[in-house]
Structure formats: C-alpha cells, structure tokens
Amino acid sequence: MRRVAVLGGGPAGLAAAQAALALGAEVTLVDEGAGLGGQFWRHHDTITDPRLTHGRARFDRLRGALEQATVHTGASVWSADVAASVTLRAFAGSADGPSRRSLAIEADAVVVATGAHDLALPVPGWTLPGVTTAGAAQALAKRDGVTVGRRTIVSGSGPFLLPVAQSLALTGSQVVGVHEASTVRALAAGWLPRPWQLAGKAGELVEYVAALARHRIPYRPGSAVVRVLGESRVEAAVVASLDAAWRPIPGTEREIVCDAVALGHGFTPRLEAALSLGCAIVGEHGARFVAVDDEQRTSNPLVFAAGEVTGIGGADAALAEGAIAGFLAAGGSIDDSRLRGPLAVRRRMRAFAARLERAHGIRQGWTDWLDDDTVVCRCEGVAKQAIEQSSHAPMRAMKLASRAGLGPCQGRTCGHAVEEIMAQAGGRPSGFDRRPILAPIRLGELAGQSGD
C-alpha cells in the first residue's frame, strides 16, 4: 500500500489527506497545533463564538474522513529528508512541554501543506504591549474569546483585515478604524476588472464590508499606522495617508487614541520543510514560494506542495490544491474525472491570488515610516540602521554582525523587513528561511535522538 505523509492539518493538508485516503493510501498527517484546522479553522469547541467560524461543515466532513488515517497533532516536525523515500521526525506532546515523545514517519510521498503566517511590517513603537499581528487578534478572538484592547486600530493590507475587524467587534473591542495601505486606485485596479472571475469571493468581501458598516467601523484605503505611541503600553497611534508606493504623505499625520493596534500586511509562507526536502523555490526576496507543476508536484518527484506555501490564495485555493496534491501523491492521475472540480476551483483561485497581489501587495515605500533606531528584529532588538550598516555583507555575515534574525523566532517575524531594508541599502539578501532545525525544539530533546 502506498504511504502518504501530509505535513500540516489546515485546509490544504486536510483535503490532501482525504484525497489520498480515497485512493486507498495509508495516510499519516502531522500538525503542530493542538487541534486540526490550521489557522483558518482555529477554534475551540466550547469557547469559540460560532459567528467567527466559516465553513465549519466542510471542516467537520474533512476531519471525519480522517478516521482511517494516523493523525499526530501537537507534533512539531523538526527534520524532513527525502531520498528513496521520505522521512519526517517530530516531537509530539503539549506545546513546549517536557517529555514529548519522538516520532519518525516513513512515507513514499509527502504533501507539504505547512501554510503561512502573518507578515507584519515594523512600525516605530511596534514592540509596545498592545501591538499584535492581525492574525493574533483573530486567533485570540476565535480561540480564546478575548481581545487585547478596548479600542483597537487595524492597519495593514489585504482582505484579511476585514474578518479581523469583525472578530474584534464581535468579541467586544471597539474598532476605531481599518487602515488599508493600498490606495483606492490600486484597489480598483486589482479588484474591479472582470468581476465574474471573482464568483463567490465577491460575495464574501461584500459580507465583510457590510459587517464593518454594521459595527460603524471606518475603512480607510491609502492610509496606515506609521507610529505607535506609549510609555509601557499602547496609548495612541499616528495614522498617515500614503502614496501609491506606501510612502507617508507629509502633513497628513494625525494621532488617534487607542490601546491596541493589530498589524497585518499579508502572509509569508512557511518554507522550512519544503526547503529541507530540496524543493525548488520561485520568486524573489520577500515573495518566495514552492514551485509546483499542474500536478502540485515540486522539483522532487516524491514531494508535493499545496496551499499557501505555493502562493497566497486563501482557504478555497488551499482546499483545491490539497485535493489535487493528495490524489497525485497517492498515485492517482491528473486526468481522473474526480479531479475536475478541484482543478476548476484552482484555476479560478489562481486568478484571485493574482488580484490579491495586484491590489494589496507590499509596496517598497513602507520603509519610509521607519526611523534609524526603529527596532526591526524584535527578538534581538536590532534597529534599522544596524541592518543597513551591514547590508553589503553576505546574509550570514550580516546576521552575525547585526544579530538580526538570530533570536528565538529565527527571523520568522522580521525576515521580510530585514531583506527589504538590505535590498534598499544596496545589499543582496538571500533566503532567511533556510533553517536546519525546522521547528524550535529543546536541546535535551535533540540530544535524546543521538542513539538513533
């Protein structure tokens, strides 16, 4: 029987597992979260407000299909290798807990569906308590039923800001405003042409805009939080109008009283496992994704990839890609009639992803809202100037000289910003995401592996 490992239990991974099972494969699914669902279906059975979950029936169906699979949740995969077969190594147990058990998974093929996490660009004052990512605001609202502040400003870019604002409002925070960095002109150029391609997506966006109106939340394109103010926590934020390149327009700054700021400028794929498995990557610094062909196959024939690691397209795209990847990984054919639906959705969602990038993609002028001493690397407290000063050095030397990206998060939070600052200073940044240990694990756990 063909063994298929699925890395990640979000929409793409769940769809991949279901498709592989349908073809009779022996499926093992691994996810680091305490429960399945990834970030999209991040909820708690008793705490989560049902108004904050979407497509719950779909999730229940996918989870139900996993009865035939081996599922490891709370499992951090720290090593992934591929030769004649695939080997994944993980530690499973309570998050960062003691005595987690060691897992080794062997498979004939693997589907990498590791997803993406928030990309929050730095702003002066963003290390103050009360500033979170938009994803954190969403996760806390959905998973824990809490909000960080009573008066929150949401700032960044992309349609994700809309459900975040809605979640904050439903969980009890007043949302003072949603500041979308892209200008009205960019939004129109990205979203208005060929509206029929948007199909269900347009309706979804209209629903969120209606929710904003219901909660009297102003939506302000072409503006951003460019500074967060406060002594020991957020007390206010400075909002400015931006030009098309996201540069603040002088004289437009105004101070708004708030106690929380949620920042989200899109998403960045989690590439560690794919890189470790030798997958070719496409794109430049700041927007690198796993290269896949029409079969969702990567440059390694045993490795498939699906969902946000192949491009930011949302849950529907991830579900379709996952279904295709899982089916092919289990030995199915792309010409099989059962893939007709997923292939059609994938085609439509690729057009959606392209619009998303055109309308909301990060523009380079954002670095203008930083001061020389603005902390960019939150873990190590490294300022913009220190990164600029060593930006002509090769990446490794730059990291050692400045310490940017050498803290506990290993550049997962600051990587995009550091690379952009280096590039603008004339340097040539190269991949922050090559991490020999794929997930943070304890030294003792690693030492316990030496006998293997």
Partner: protein, 80 residues
C-alpha cells in the same frame, strides 16, 4: 473555571483557554521582560516567541500555544 498564578498574582480563566488567553481576558497584556521593554502576545500562533513564560518551573513555554491548566504556576522571563 480554572485558576493560575502569574508572578504570584492569581488569575481566573475559562477551561480551554491558552495561558495568553487567560491573562489577556483578565486585562494583563505584558508578562515578559525583553531587551527593549515589556512584551506579551505578538503573533498569537507560536511563531514569534514574544510571549515566552516559565510554566511550573519549565522555561521557554509559548503562552499563546499552551493551554492553561488549573493550578499552573507561571513566572515571568527576563532577558537583559
């Protein structure tokens, strides 16, 4: 209902909440001392490590990932 202590202060939370969820629900948004000041939750999904705490003597636990258990004793971590 669960009860935990953080830096000797008592907090009540709902069963199933993360440690971060219990603290934020009680109005506490910072619980770690970093080089540049106080920190709490930033990414909320286990990526940034800004929310690290010591739980029942074990350091380096992400408060946003660990479900709070009744009786947990949590201490602040300081990085000079």
């Amino acid at each position: 209902m669960i009860r935990i202590t953080v830096d000797d202060e008592r907090f009540e939370g709902r069963d199933g909440q993360t440690i971060a969820g219990v603290l934020i629900g009680a109005g506490r948004i910072a619980w770690r001392t970093a080089q540049t000041g106080e920190r709490g939750v930033f990414c909320g999904i286990g990526v940034c490590h800004d929310c690290l705490v010591t739980v029942n003597g074990l350091s380096g636990v992400r408060a946003c990932q660990r479900a709070a258990s009744d009786g947990d004793v949590i201490e602040r971590e300081v990085r000079a």
